[in-house]
């Protein structure tokens, strides 16, 4: 083990001269610690130096605000440097990794506790397996921070989730160690099986390991994959990381969320089945009655009995064809390494599922104690875990949505809400608190959520499906076939529409206008501000003869005047509104991008150009009168939307061509998201990259007015 110069290992600190000694607990008699000095003698230095100490029960890390000294981690640049570490070195490495992750995330925000929970697993995997030849696939990927640190990206970790920095999820373009891109859940076993089968066909002999969580296990795709894996019998290792946190954030408003669904309780049963244990205790009693010589026989009996009465969950995996090993303590690196080495050495492995039990946020007490386990955080203070949440004058769109839905549900008891394991993200935690029996969390199962809503609608209830725009992609066939084809009045509230900032293209809601507006029976609308959002919630509640949907972005409101008591008023379907009057140029915006149009209008005003800005509100049915009027009264008509091609702009242009208006002198331009994926970054940077900022809108108008250079007046 390479130890950087200047570090000291000491035993029995009772005579230690170090001034920081008082912090050591007195009960531990044998205690040794590695103290790293950065250049020279720092005997006199106090406080500031983070100590990572090994005590009797485990490693203790003092989280101060300073950069933690990580002597062992500093020597690891790639997984190959981990091969010769001893078990104790690996434990020290894990402790240093934890300190590093807490320090890094505290400075920039990101996903904290998921990464902390899998530190030991990541260390064990990289120690035993030879990446990048061996493939490790992380499901969802927000827990891959330790993986990224160990695979050569430690120096760039401070840029994670920022513009031009590391992605917050594994990304194949970023590193060869990232075997598969992730962001949506439950894809790792499918991808792993594909890699395993390809390996077999090409005659190679590397290992494939898929790491999936218990939350991702609630999705059907995981079962489809396991079913196929069992059938094909190809060598594949699946690690089920069970931390009993199925929904996100892993708390309701009142405290930890109880795991959703029958599956989580099945998994919990594997860990401790009281009736089973009763039986086993009795059986043990019997065998001890029989006497010591027969104890071996009794042990055999016990083993077979175990197979027969075994905890109910493991047989599920066995029936699918995966050999089940577990449960295993997911924080005991020695155990993990033993198991992985044994499994790696087996010649004809077939598919194997190793069930490890971890604790989310392990090793960082504030995360362990928090109700939501500090799943996703902004900058925080490492000593206390207190997050520095910026105060904003307005709430987020999500909160306005939840508030107005609650108000609707108070007057109409047929309204129910459905979400897919995203109670916090969709704001339905508030709805659940208010109406606990009318809020349904189905786990990570969007397809089921949609058809479940359709079933509710057939009986006359009014279901609101709150699913992120990009996650609804997973349930698209159900939207078409089960909801739209049968014209069932299901309401879709698509949060995180448009560009989403740090999460990147995997979470970007670029396609929902396109895929919703092409459906024959769907009413498609988008509010331009939070007041309009409330009105649209009321409108959707009122539309009872066909499906409807509305999209709203990530971010905070603009400060519009809210309707009294937060109760929206249904607006007339298929009617937009004109916000400002001008001449020659009309800008027709759809959704929250209207705010950028208004900014552009202000910028053009300073150049003495008055443009008309209109808010279309509805993509389907289009406001025919408004569009015809704008087309007839202006030279130039621009449509702007934060969506991909085939959305609002397409619908407007088809309408105009059908009406014959395009045969005339009108100049029509559509602005939408470019035909490429926009990388993660700050929202403003992303808008600039996409060419939809106020400045870009100005530039387009000016170039159409034959005054292109004047856009340089604005920075």
């Amino acid at each position: 083990m390479a130890v950087t110069g200047g570090s000291v290992i000491r035993l029995n600190p009772s005579i230690s001269p170090y001034p920081t000694a008082p912090r050591q607990s007195i009960c531990c008699r044998k205690q040794f610690y590695v103290r790293a000095s950065v250049g020279g003698n720092s005997d006199g230095e106090k406080g500031g130096k983070m100590m990572i100490r090994r005590e009797k029960q485990g490693w203790k890390i003092d989280f101060s605000g300073e950069k933690p000294p990580t002597p062992l981690l500093d020597t690891i640049n790639f997984p190959v440097h981990m091969k010769n570490l001893s078990a104790q070195d690996l434990e020290q490495l894990a402790a240093e990794l934890r300190a590093d992750i807490v320090y890094t995330v505290s400075k920039i925000g990101g996903h904290l506790s998921a990464s902390l929970g899998v530190v030991d697993l990541a260390v064990a995997l990289h120690h035993v397996f030879n990446t990048p030849e061996d493939k490790i696939i992380w499901d969802v990927g927000h827990q891959a921070y330790p993986h990224k640190i160990l695979t050569g990206r430690r120096s760039k970790m401070h840029t994670i989730r920022k513009t031009s920095g590391l992605a917050g999820f594994p990304k194949r373009d970023e590193s060869i160690y990232d075997a598969f891109g992730a962001g949506h859940s439950s894809t790792s076993i499918s991808a792993g099986l594909g890699m395993a089968v390809a390996r077999d066909l090409l005659g190679k002999s590397n290992n494939v390991i898929s790491v999936i969580g218990d939350g991702a296990m609630t999705a059907g795709q995981a079962y489809e994959a396991m079913n196929n894996a069992g059938f094909l019998d190809s060598n594949l290792i699946v690690v089920l990381n069970d931390n009993k946190q199925v929904s996100l954030p892993t708390a309701t408003l009142d405290g930890p969320a109880t795991p959703v669904g029958a599956l989580s309780s099945a998994l919990a049963k594997i860990q401790a089945s009281p009736k089973f244990r009763k039986l086993r205790e009795a059986a043990k009693g019997i065998t001890k009655q029989i006497g010591p010589p027969a104890h071996e026989v009794a042990a055999k009996v016990d083993e077979y009995a175990r197979g027969m009465i075994s905890a109910s969950g493991s047989t599920l995996f066995e029936e699918l064809g995966l050999y089940y090993i577990g449960p295993v303590d997911g924080h005991n690196i020695e155990d993990l390494v033993t198991i992985f080495q044994k499994v790696k050495a087996m010649p004809a492995l077939g598919p194997v599922l190793i069930h490890i039990v971890t604790e989310k946020g392990k090793g960082y007490p504030p995360a362990e104690a928090a109700a939501d386990k500090m799943h996703g955080v902004v900058k925080f203070d490492p000593k206390t875990g207190q997050q520095f949440k910026t105060k904003s004058p307005t709430l987020s769109y999500t909160q306005y949505f939840a508030e107005s839905l609650i108000k609707e549900a108070e007057v109409d008891n047929k309204i129910v809400a459905i979400h897919a394991a995203m109670g916090g993200g969709t704001g339905l935690n508030y709805f659940q608190k208010r109406f606990p029996d009318r809020c349904f969390d189905v786990g990570i199962a969007e397809q089921h959520a949609v058809t479940f809503a359709a079933g509710l609608a057939t009986e006359g209830l009014k279901p609101f499906c709150a699913i992120y725009s990009s996650f609804l992609q997973r349930g698209y066939d159900q939207v078409v076939h089960d909801v739209d084809l049968q014209k069932l009045p299901v309401r879709f509230a698509m949060d995180r529409a448009g560009l989403v900032g740090a999460d990147g293209p995997t979470h970007c809601g670029a396609f929902d206008v396109t895929y919703m507006a092409c459906l024959p029976n769907m009413v498609v609308m988008a509010p331009s501000d939070e007041a309009d959002l409330m009105h649209m919630v009321a409108t959707a509640a009122a539309i009872d003869d066909r499906p409807s949907c509305f999209r709203f972005p990530r971010g905070n409101g603009i400060g519009a005047v809210l309707p009294p008591n937060n109760k929206g008023i249904p607006i007339e379907i298929g009617k937009g509104r004109i916000l400002t009057e001008g001449n020659r140029v009309a800008i027709l915006g759809y959704g929250s991008i209207v705010q950028q149009c208004m900014d552009a209008m202000g910028m053009l005003k300073s150049l003495n150009i008055a443009v008309t800005v209109a808010d279309a509100r509805f993509c389907k049915p289009l406001d025919a009168d408004l569009i015809t009027r704008l087309a007839n009264e202006h030279e130039i008509l621009m449509t702007v939307e934060e969506g991909s091609i085939g959305g609002f702009g397409s619908h407007v242009s088809h309408f105009l061509s059908l009406k014959g208006i395009l045969d005339g002198p009108l100049k029509l331009r559509s602005m939408f998201l470019p035909d490429r994926y926009i990388d993660h970054g700050s929202p403003q940077d992303q808008l600039d990259e996409a060419g939809l900022s106020a400045r870009h809108i100005c530039a387009t108008v000016l170039s159409l007015l034959k005054r292109p250079k004047e856009v340089l007046n604005f920075n």
């Binding site: 005659g203 190809s234 004809a348 194997v352």
Partner: protein, 203 residues
């Protein structure tokens, strides 16, 4: 007739610290029960000291001479549903509330009220109820507050149980994988492995 040499008579002094088994139960000659009882004596040494510790620390262990389970306290079966638990609790709370208790028995009723309250809190929360059920197997009737103290010990035992379990599973897997790719196995993976191994043999 089952052998009696392994069974310890009820009057044995080792039983004095155990929660009392009601007369009805002790009189049955159910062999399973006798084993249950003797199992409990064996586990007693492990946990009796913990109970004593808990009692000293917290005093929230159910009174030793008459430790009834929370289920008995509420008067419901061990498989009672939440509705039943709630009903029983409401009934008993109304009965034993200090304000409506007959004068002279206020203290006794208050004690009971507190115990009923405790029972309801433990049993109405599914997680706590599970933990309580587990403890009951071992003959402990603890309120949740006393439990935390030896949760780490319990975890240790659980972990070592897990370890022996997965070690067994690994040996079984090894044994299986020796015979997995025999001629008989026609799965796709087995065929590919045979091909690959066959090819490497030829080289």
């Amino acid at each position: 007739m089952c052998c009696s040499h392994g069974v310890i008579p009820r009057s044995d002094p080792r039983f004095s610290l155990l929660p009392a088994i009601t007369a009805a139960r002790a009189s049955t000659h159910d062999p399973f029960l006798r084993l249950y009882v003797s199992t409990r004596t064996r586990t007693r040494t492990g946990f009796g000291s913990l109970r004593a510790r808990a009692a000293v620390n917290d005093g929230s262990v159910a009174a030793a001479p008459k430790a009834v389970s929370f289920y008995d306290l509420l008067g419901i079966s061990e498989t009672g549903t939440l509705v039943e638990i709630k009903q029983a609790y409401k009934q008993l709370a109304r009965k034993y509330h200090p304000d409506v208790s007959p004068p002279g028995r206020v203290d006794e009723y208050t004690q009971r009220f507190i115990r009923v309250q405790e029972a309801y809190e433990t049993l109405s929360d599914p997680r706590r109820r599970e933990m309580y059920d587990r403890d009951m197997v071992r003959g402990l009737h603890l309120a949740i507050s006393a439990r935390r103290r030896f949760q780490s010990d319990e975890q240790m035992e659980e972990r070592s149980e897990w370890k022996s379990r997965w070690q067994g599973q690994l040996t079984e897997l090894k044994r299986r994988s020796m015979n997995k790719d025999d001629r008989g196995n026609m799965s796709w993976g087995a065929r590919m492995r045979r091909q690959r191994n066959g090819a490497s043999d030829e080289v």
